[in-house]
């Protein structure tokens, strides 16, 4: 059972998603426009500071609170949910976990209020799964400054008007044959840091995703995040947490498919009956409900272990795997139930269908989750 404060939070975000997001998001999506107004309101209610301590302007809550908020937002729309997820779990959390006192004081209050968005650049055009094998971006110390060169691909939140900082993973040296990886904070607008125009995406159309290029981009040496050479270990931890958040978001989308379908099948008639009277439809919805229920338990369990300080790598991987599957399967079934209307962008299920696929790809593909689970079972190369 959830504590009162979590139940209240969930209700509040549910009301916000219904009252503020639902009426307008389809339009933003259609125009591929970033919903600044919604993001500002999410900031005002403290969503960007959920797991950030109060001393840095946050809500003093925890990661599970963030997960609940993501689930409720994604029940209505994934673009705003991923904007929150990336800003908090990829933007703010690494600074909170690994930053110096100065870095935390400088960045966290603005990130926690939502007045500024953070991003994290790991993936490169040459590969997102094979890190560091596919990594080409380098950072070299020169006269007390890091000089960064390279390109990052598909970076969420990196090019909005309110983006303030991007954590960039780069090769900063070699340990024998192995590349040494570190993360460096690069403020938006730094000379030599160019944000390309938005990608044309299949889904998440109201979220901001960009390619970034760095050419002789110089930032002070103090912008190193955490220890030099610890970048790889740092983002593995960041990604483990992020997987629980993406699982929550996926559960939200899968639940949205159930909500929409249950409503629609009572209204739509065929052959003289509401289509919900037909068992073929009922069974589909029953399967959808079973998937979302089990996926939710999986992410609750992973989050519980994470907050208790127990190992949760395997549980996070399982939660991400099953919930992204559930989202994809439910989106396919909900679209089928809606028939032709399901293929129309103006219906939420049309958006769910387009938004589901990326969940099996981002923050570690489903193959990666299976690799992690197998490795935790002692199976390995």
């Amino acid at each position: 059972m959830l504590g009162d404060e979590y139940i209240e939070l969930r209700k509040t975000v549910e009301a916000f998603a219904r009252e503020v997001v639902a009426p307008v998001i389809g339009d933003y999506y259609e125009r591929c426009e970033f919903p600044y107004d919604i993001v500002r309101k999410m900031g005002a209610m403290g969503l960007f500071g959920l797991p950030v301590p109060e001393e840095y302007g946050g809500m003093g809550g925890d990661y599970f609170a963030l997960c609940l908020a993501l689930e409720e937002l994604a029940r209505v729309d994934s673009s705003v949910a991923i904007t929150l997820e990336a800003a908090v779990s990829l933007g703010a959390m690494p600074i909170l976990r690994f930053g110096t006192a100065e870095q935390k004081e400088h960045w966290l209050p603005k990130l926690a209020s939502g007045e500024m968005l953070g991003a994290f650049g790991l993936t490169e055009p040459g590969g997102g799964t094979d890190v560091p094998g596919g990594m080409r971006t380098t950072a070299v110390l020169d006269g007390g400054e890091w000089v960064i060169d390279g390109t990052k691909a598909f970076i969420t939140n990196s090019g909005t008007d309110i983006t303030g900082v991007v954590g960039v993973a780069a090769i900063t040296g070699r340990n024998g044959a192995k590349p040494e990886i570190s993360t460096i904070l690069v403020p938006s607008g730094t000379p030599g840091f160019t944000v390309s125009k938005k990608y044309s995406k299949v889904g998440w159309s109201a979220s901001d995703t960009r390619e970034l290029s760095f050419s002789g981009c110089r930032v002070p040496e103090e912008n190193l995040l955490g220890e030099r050479g610890r970048g790889y270990a740092q983002f593995l931890q960041t990604l483990d947490e992020g997987r629980v958040a993406i699982a929550a978001l996926s559960v939200g989308l899968a639940q949205g498919c159930v909500d929409e379908s249950v409503r629609y099948v009572g209204e739509r008639t065929a052959f003289g009956n509401a289509i919900g009277r037909y068992q073929a439809i009922q069974f589909k919805i029953a399967d959808m409900e079973a998937r979302v229920h089990t996926a939710r338990l999986a992410y609750y369990h992973a989050a519980e272990r994470m907050l208790a300080g127990l190992p949760f790598k395997k549980e996070a991987a399982i939660a991400k795997l099953v919930s992204s599957n559930a989202a994809m399967d439910n989106a396919r079934d909900a679209t089928q139930i809606f028939g032709g209307y399901g293929f129309m962008n103006e219906f939420p299920v049309g958006r769910f269908y387009r938004d589901a696929k990326i969940l099996e790809i981002g923050e570690g593909t489903s193959e990666v989750q299976r690799m992690l689970i197998a490795r935790e079972l002692g199976l390995g190369a």
């Binding site: 009162d4 404060e5 939070l9 509040t12 309101k41 005002a44 209610m45």
Partner: protein, 259 residues
């Protein structure tokens, strides 16, 4: 400034609402209780006034034990403390006796400004602010879409059919607000957690020196004698456009006194 904002728990308008067959009062257990929508605007306005002028915001709610959920929400939005007037003897009170009970409680807790929503979505009498002001002997500034306080002076814009009237008075006063006044905030998680620790004082009628023979169903000035379910909606009027559709539509609207 000591601001008291009155909030009421009402049955969710999105769910089916019904009357009880035994005493013909509203069945408050049949529907989910939510904060009366206009009261959220009242809370928001109270919080904005506090943010601008300092002071304290106290939530006052009269209602059954279940109304604590509504009080918590107002506290989560940012109010400082609450008084919950709750007593079986109050059940079935009409607007007159409710205004009496609230006025007695307000006299006890003290106030510079009382803010209310201009009506509740269940009873919809819209008279409480006026009754309270009368009982408390203060000015009433009703239907405000803007409130300004300057020292002990208060001014509002009162919405009218033709625009607004500017109404001025001095504190203490009673103000009722309409939904155009502001955009109520959603509680933050910090607010939700803080609300758990904020003081809520529960008063029975004796604690507020409210006499039992002036409240409750028995002393109500009006009585629901009978009620029936609303008839199902009749079929609409279909106007066929044979070149004169516009005229017919206008005639229809005129017959309903819309134009």
């Amino acid at each position: 400034m000591n601001i008291v904002v009155c909030v009421k728990q009402v049955p969710d308008t999105a769910t089916e609402r019904k009357l009880r067959s035994d005493d013909k009062t509203l069945d408050r257990d049949a529907a989910d209780g939510v904060v009366n929508e206009l009261d959220e605007y009242a809370v928001e306005e109270a919080l904005r006034l506090k943010e601008a002028h300092g002071g304290e915001v106290t939530v006052l709610s009269m209602g059954p034990a279940k109304a604590t959920e509504t009080i918590r929400k107002a506290l989560a939005m940012g109010a400082d403390k609450a008084v919950h007037l709750s007593d079986d003897a109050l059940r079935g009170s009409d607007a007159l006796s409710t205004s009496y009970a609230l006025a007695e409680t307000l006299k006890k807790i003290g106030f510079d400004l009382v803010i209310l929503g201009s009506e509740s979505t269940d009873a919809r009498t819209g008279v409480l602010a006026a009754m309270l002001a009368e009982r408390l002997g203060t000015p009433q500034l009703t239907l405000a879409n803007k409130v300004e306080v300057d020292g002990s002076a208060i001014a509002i814009q009162r919405v009218t059919d033709y625009g607004y009237d500017k109404v001025e008075a001095s504190l203490p006063a009673v103000v009722s607000v309409v939904e155009k006044i502001n955009e109520p905030r959603y509680p933050s998680f910090k607010g939700i957690m803080a609300a758990k620790k904020k003081p809520v004082e529960t008063l029975a009628i004796g604690d507020a020196e409210i006499s039992a023979d002036q409240v409750g169903l028995a002393s109500a000035w009006s009585e629901v004698v009978d009620f029936a379910a609303a008839p199902p909606r009749a079929a609409g009027t279909v106007v066929k456009d044979e070149g004169d559709g516009g005229v017919k539509a206008a005639e229809f609207l005129a017959s309903k006194k819309f134009v």
